[in-house]
């Protein structure tokens, strides 16, 4: 193996994070279980929408989180984090001025070139909206480059919807942009749609010939949303999914997040349904 | 709680670190009494209150030794006096066996003490800690099973 001749012995270990500082913490949901962390005044690295980074409350572990901010706007990195495990709970204890471990960017990101000129449906369930938010804002910042934009956002309840200002005010006001919101369970005062996100998309999306869909959410939602989009006539290569599996290294080495010979952390997390069709089904 | 620096040793003398698991109903009250009546015993004991000595799994003992204790005291109600009638009988079996197992693994026998201390036995608590501390001073610091970073 010739790789031994050019061993990266002097490089820094990619598993060692740098320390970054939290600038701001925004509670996204009524329950407080989902918060957005703004980290640093500027991003320490260039990135594209759909990429992820490893965020760590030092001492509590590490989690792979999608960037919710867009590189088109500068400023710090934003991560929307749901308190699920040890590390994410520990992150939720932190506030402005606190340090976090940060390494990245990881993953392939969205195929921006292939989205140019297309009508895009964004389908985001729950915390899955975070990666899509990066892409929506990226598209809005270069609005002429893309066709009609439709954001389908779903959550368990109205109180669990993330990015409410953007969903209700900012994005609907943008040119040729529509926002469709649904919740699994309504509550008093909620006048929007009640129903599962895949059904909502199936009932409302009228795909144009130029239609693509970008889907992110929990595995079950991804499965049903994909079926709905295929039934609507979208081609498998026009359905773009961002997946999540348990990840630890983020760099395709720890052997955890593979689907066939692809690693979700390194070769993904963004795959088209066509690409996944050629891989074993392990989600 | 009145705690003095126990032992008559010199300044450089080794002060054993003791973790004492005390049952809520008897031994913790006993320790409390030792404090309120201003009995003196070594300050290097750390008391962990448990609802019953039956709550104590033997792994707690090894974890304490791993994380820096030199000795571990399990203190419960006298046999027959358990607040939950029989909890300490089970403890007695379990910890006697744990004591044997630790010995089989090469741990010093005197690292784990089991004592019955009632709520009125403040003096017994203070005496036990003093005796234990003196005996651990002879044994020296525990290095077995100990995390060097702890």
């Amino acid at each position: 193996m010739s790789c031994r001749d050019s061993l990266p012995v002097s490089s820094a270990d990619p598993l060692v994070p740098t320390l970054a500082v939290i600038e701001q913490v925004i509670a996204e949901t009524d329950s407080g279980l989902i918060r957005t962390f703004v980290i640093g005044e500027e991003s320490p690295f260039p990135y594209r929408p759909g990429q992820c980074a490893m965020l760590s409350a030092i001492g509590a572990g590490e989690s792979m989180i999608a960037m919710a901010s867009t590189p088109s706007r500068g400023g710090g990195l934003e991560f929307t984090v749901k308190a699920v495990g040890g590390n994410t709970h520990a992150l939720h204890q932190l506030g402005p001025g606190d340090q976090v471990g940060l390494r990245g960017p990881y993953g392939n990101g969205f195929p921006l070139e292939r989205l140019a000129g297309r009508d895009i449906a964004f389908v985001g369930g729950g915390i899955g909206m975070s990666g899509l938010r990066s892409l929506v804002n990226y598209c809005l910042d270069d609005r002429e480059r893309y066709g009609r934009l439709t954001v389908y956002s779903g959550a368990r309840s109205p109180g669990e919807l993330c990015y409410r200002t953007e969903l209700t005010e900012v994005w609907p006001a943008a040119p040729r942009t529509e926002v469709m919101v649904t919740v699994d369970q309504g509550q008093p005062g909620w006048s929007g749609n009640v129903g599962l996100l895949p059904d909502y998309v199936a009932a409302n999306l009228e795909p144009s010939p130029d239609q693509v869909a970008v889907v992110c959410g929990p595995p079950v939602m991804i499965r049903y949303a994909t079926e709905a989009l295929l039934r609507l006539g979208l081609r498998p290569e026009d359905i773009i999914l961002t997946l999540e599996l348990k990840m630890q290294c983020g760099i395709g080495r720890c052997g955890r997040c593979n689907i066939g010979d692809k690693y979700v952390c390194r070769d993904g997390p963004v795959f088209t349904v066509a690409e996944l069709g050629r891989l074993p089904e392990e989600l | 709680m009145a705690i003095t620096s126990g032992g008559a040793g010199t300044k450089s003398a080794f002060q054993p670190r003791i973790v004492a698991f005390c049952c809520n109903w008897c031994s913790y009250a006993g320790a409390d009494l030792a404090g309120t009546t201003r009995m003196s015993y070594p300050a290097t004991v750390r008391i962990i209150r448990v609802p019953c000595s039956g709550r104590i799994h033997p792994r707690y003992v090894l974890r304490a030794l791993e994380r820096g204790a030199d000795g571990v005291l399990i203190a419960g109600c006298h046999p027959g006096d358990c607040h939950y009638s029989t909890g300490n009988y089970y403890t007695r079996r379990r910890l006697l066996l744990a004591q044997r197992l630790l010995t089989h693994l090469g741990f010093d026998q005197g690292r784990l003490w089991i004592r019955w201390i009632s709520g009125s036995e403040g003096a017994k608590f203070a005496d036990t800690i003093r005796d234990m501390s003196a005996s651990l001073q002879v044994l020296g610091p525990n290095r077995k099973g100990r995390d060097q970073r702890a």
């Binding site: 040890g86 | 799994h57 033997p58 792994r59 090894l62 974890r63 791993e66 046999p79 027959g80 029989t86 009988y89 089970y90 007695r92 079996r93 379990r94 910890l95 006697l96 066996l97 744990a98 004591q99 044997r100 197992l101 630790l102 010995t103 089989h104 693994l105 090469g106 741990f107 010093d108 026998q109 005197g110 784990l112 003490w113 089991i114 004592r115 019955w116 005996s135 077995k144 099973g145 100990r146 995390d147």
Partner: protein, 330 residues
Amino acid sequence: MPDAGQPVGYPAEVLRDLQQLVRDCARSLLEQGEVGMVIGHRAAAPYGRGVPAFVTEPGEAGQLMVGPQCQVGIGKYLLDQTRATRGRVAVIGRGCDILAARRLIADNRVAPDQVLLLWVPCAGRAVPEAMAKGGAVARHCLQCDVRLPEPGQDGIEIIGAHLAGALASASLVGEGCLEATAPRIAPAGPGADNAGDAGYERWSGWFEHCLRCYACRATCPACNCDICVLESRSPQWVERSTALPQQFMFHFIRAMDVAGRCVNCGECERACPAGIPLMDLQQLVAADITELFGVERPHVPGEHEPLGIFDARDPDPERPARTSGGGALS
């Protein structure tokens, strides 16, 4: 089946008859619908060693085998298979397999009416590496007291009772029998060579090589929890790193959690890739249980676990021990 040489302990004709009985029994149980599955052993390369067989068709009963080559303890498979199988599941096994099954029943992990236990007499389990040299039995088989079926037990049938006599007199120790003659670690009582620092160094030497592969836990019939404390991350009793304190923690917790429930099957020691004499620890604990609490044969699952009951007259740490030999407790 490749020739594995003359197996230790088993006269060839006894082995042949026993095997036939086992196959006939399994076939008839399946034919009559008494059970949905028979768990036993079948031969596999290399060495013709016996690996687990899960027989569901009467026609497959002919693959079942018995004898020293049967390596794998099969009792623990009841945990999976009673849940996955329609009808009862039969285990045709040696004393250690039967005790393993009884362990699962005693722990309420398997319902007694879901299983049928068939006890086959045994003359020891061979060590695979030694098979080519004529065989050698595993160390703990020498101390085994359930080689021959014990009659009159509920829910247990005996296969080949009339052949037990021939096996009872069989010698367990054959040529090249390195493993069986390896000395046990003596109890580390006060004054013993193994006490204190020497004992600690000895176990450190073994535990240093522990890979934390969980093979001991995976094979142990007493380790039958759905969620294992050794893997718990919150609270985390054992960290993943293989530093020596973590190794002691791992083996102490395991030894303590199976204390009084160990069936003396030797599976942990057989499975350990680092060759740690894990059964030494268990046998020392078993001897302690007998000595301290007067429980004879603590490896045989009974109505109560020795640590699940108590006696008001148990030795007391504040008073001199009731029996001598174990040493005064502090």
